[in-house]
């Protein structure tokens, strides 16, 4: 197990290095730089600025300086756009926001999705099953950028219950819509997967034996059926997590929540390379970490899996 974790982490390092190299090469290949956009600077001034940020050095040296900065001091460099802020500052201001609504979306999507899927499977072919399946199908074509305007239309424009955007330190009325918008499509996916895998498990021989033995229904479901049924769901939970982090780009843009996605889009528009890269590396590492977690959970739930 330990060697598996170590091996996985060993793959993570070239992945992150690849992200960094890729970003540097892209930046180098792209026409125009972070300082050529705003106004026509005299060449001497431009050279000075580029020297200050180390952009005049050859590419491999830039990559080396950047990577060693991260490894030794956990420093992602200064923002090219905001003079007095470092990438660490921007991430520190945006990430907690993303974490709050991301966490709640994840909890809602997984808890509700798994319960709905289990109920639908237990009441197979009843109206409950049809309702759950139907809404799951509909939900899967309602991504965050579709849900966000629809929610605002309903709750802000018509009902006037919730503010259409903002964060204000994360009061509940500002969190509700981002969470629903972010969670809907993943909730639908989790429901669908849970239902089909639960149906498969419920039809298997060991469940029939458990029933024949006269075990109470809740015991069969919770102790015997749920565990194997959750295995395929775990994989989709990993994907949902990544999707939700990506979705924060839309949520921040539409609801002005000021999370990490907002910094990313602003940085992308301003060609603020260091911020772009910092956010990409952060998201990449989180993805790798979360997938590792999923695989460990997999082995814990299913003892047949040995790494």
């Amino acid at each position: 197990m330990l060697s598996f974790i170590l091996r996985r982490l060993a793959i993570a390092i070239p992945t992150i290095l690849l992200i960094i190299t890729l970003s540097f090469v892209l930046m180098h290949a792209a026409p125009g730089g972070p300082f050529s956009a705003e106004r026509n600077l005299p060449p001497e001034v431009l050279a000075n600025i580029e020297q200050r940020y180390g952009l005049d050095k050859p590419l491999y040296q830039q990559i080396f300086v950047y990577v060693s900065g991260i490894v030794t001091e956990f420093d992602f460099g200064p923002s090219f756009k905001y003079k007095n802020q470092s990438v660490n500052d921007l991430i520190a201001s945006g990430f907690p926001v993303t974490l709050v609504y991301g966490f709640w979306s994840f909890v809602c999507a997984s808890v509700l999705g798994i319960s709905l899927g289990v109920i639908a499977a237990l009441k197979h072919n009843s109206w409950l099953d049809y309702a759950a399946t139907g809404s799951a199908i509909l939900g899967s074509v309602l991504p965050n950028f579709v849900m966000a305007p629809l929610l605002v239309l309903l709750f802000t424009v018509y009902l006037n219950w919730l503010p259409g955007g903002g964060w204000e330190g994360g009061q509940i009325q500002f969190i509700i819509m981002p969470v629903i918008a972010l969670a809907t499509s993943y909730l639908a996916g989790i429901t669908r997967i849970t239902r089909s895998s639960m149906l498969e498990v419920l039809g298997s021989n060991f469940i029939r034996s458990a029933r024949a033995k006269g075990l109470p229904a809740h015991h069969i479901i919770l102790r015997h059926a749920l565990k194997p049924a959750l295995l395929p769901v775990l994989t989709s939970l990993g994907l949902s997590f990544v999707g939700m982090i990506t979705g924060s780009v839309v949520i921040d843009q539409y609801f002005s929540t000021g999370g990490i996605g907002q910094h990313f889009v602003n940085a992308a528009l301003n060609r603020d390379y260091s911020v772009i890269m910092g956010v990409t590396i952060l998201v990449g590492s989180l993805t790798i970490l979360f997938n590792l977690l999923v695989e460990i959970l997999y082995a814990w739930i299913d003892p047949r899996i040995r790494y």
Partner: protein
């Protein structure tokens, strides 16, 4: 002699003289694809979706001839008071209304449909071609080459795809071609994994062994013997991939980082509609949204129907 040759000859004559009846055509062997087609035709949701999708495709091709407005043309009268004069009506011949700039939404939805559908189709085409070849090659060759090829896929999959796509769009100009390149670069990864798994289970079967024994080259085995046998799964997965591609493009365009004016796509139109909710011009959101949702639902149902039709487990 156990068999009487005369009797056998008589039997053969009798058989030959029988009139060809209905039953004999029934008994003709039916291929996997014929059976699949029959099963698919019986799936009502899938057939309705197929018709809906065809209607949308036809609409996006010929719809513009039904309207006098061009997608770039500005109706100055309607622009003066979009919530009132820009509303959908037959008289003004703005069937879907106009946007904030007085441009005809009907024409713009048609244009957006063309681009969104094209992104979906081209994206999955790349995924099918590259992913199938890559996965089949890795699975067939096996060993170290397989390990190397699949590790690279693992590493690429760990990269936050959407972020790289945004990066590409920002750095190399926001154009539709950049979206194709970006989506094409990464869409084939999952496909290659699925095909590799299938190839692994195929490659030890007798017919592959036979091909190898008579000296068929590996490339020919892959293209002539392995790929035709994984085609069913490729078709199902490609159908389910299209909505994903459309969603990716719409996501990027919703952020304003995708297709640029005067071109548009469903995502860009939904974005415009979403920004003008407060003005009471609901049609700007609802028309593109309806097209988006109906198309995506259709693709899901068709994909599900194809899976049921092509999956021999479910007979």
């Amino acid at each position: 002699m156990l068999l009487n040759p005369k009797k056998i000859q008589q039997l053969a004559q009798n058989l030959a003289s029988l009139p060809p009846d209905e039953n004999s055509s029934e008994l003709k062997g039916r291929s996997l694809w014929q059976l699949a087609r029959a099963r698919f035709a019986r799936n009502r949701a899938a057939m309705i979706s197929l018709i809906a999708l065809l209607l949308i495709v036809i609409f996006s091709i010929v719809g513009s001839s039904l309207s006098p407005w061009d997608h770039e043309q500005i109706d100055w009268d309607a622009m003066a008071d979009v919530p009132m004069l820009g509303a959908p009506s037959i008289q003004s011949r703005h069937y879907f209304g106009t946007d904030d700039l007085g441009r005809d939404l009907y024409a713009r939805v048609i244009q957006g449909s063309q681009i969104s559908l094209m992104v979906g189709l081209i994206g999955s085409l790349i995924a099918v071609v590259v992913g199938t070849l890559y996965g089949a090659t890795a699975g067939y060759l096996g060993g170290r080459i397989d390990a190397l090829m699949m590790r690279s896929v693992d590493i690429l999959l760990a990269i936050p795809f959407m972020f790289v796509l945004i990066l590409l769009m920002v750095m190399f100009g926001r154009s539709i071609y950049m979206i194709f390149i970006g989506i094409g670069l990464l869409s084939w990864l999952d496909m290659s994994r699925i095909i590799r798994g299938q190839t692994l289970s195929l490659k030890n079967r007798e017919f592959i062994e036979a091909a190898r024994a008579i000296g068929v080259r590996p490339l020919t085995i892959i293209t002539r013997h392995i790929i035709p046998n994984v085609l069913g799964i490729v078709v199902v997965y490609a159908t389910l991939l299209v909505p994903g591609m459309i969603m990716t493009e719409s996501f990027i365009s919703f952020l304003g980082l995708g297709v640029q004016e005067p071109q548009t796509s469903w995502g860009a139109l939904i974005n415009e509609g979403a920004r003008s909710i407060q003005n009471g011009t609901l049609w700007q959101l609802l028309f593109p949204l309806a097209f988006f949702i109906v198309t995506l639902l259709s693709f899901y149902f068709i994909g599900d129907g194809l899976r049921d039709a092509l999956d021999p487990k479910d007979q």
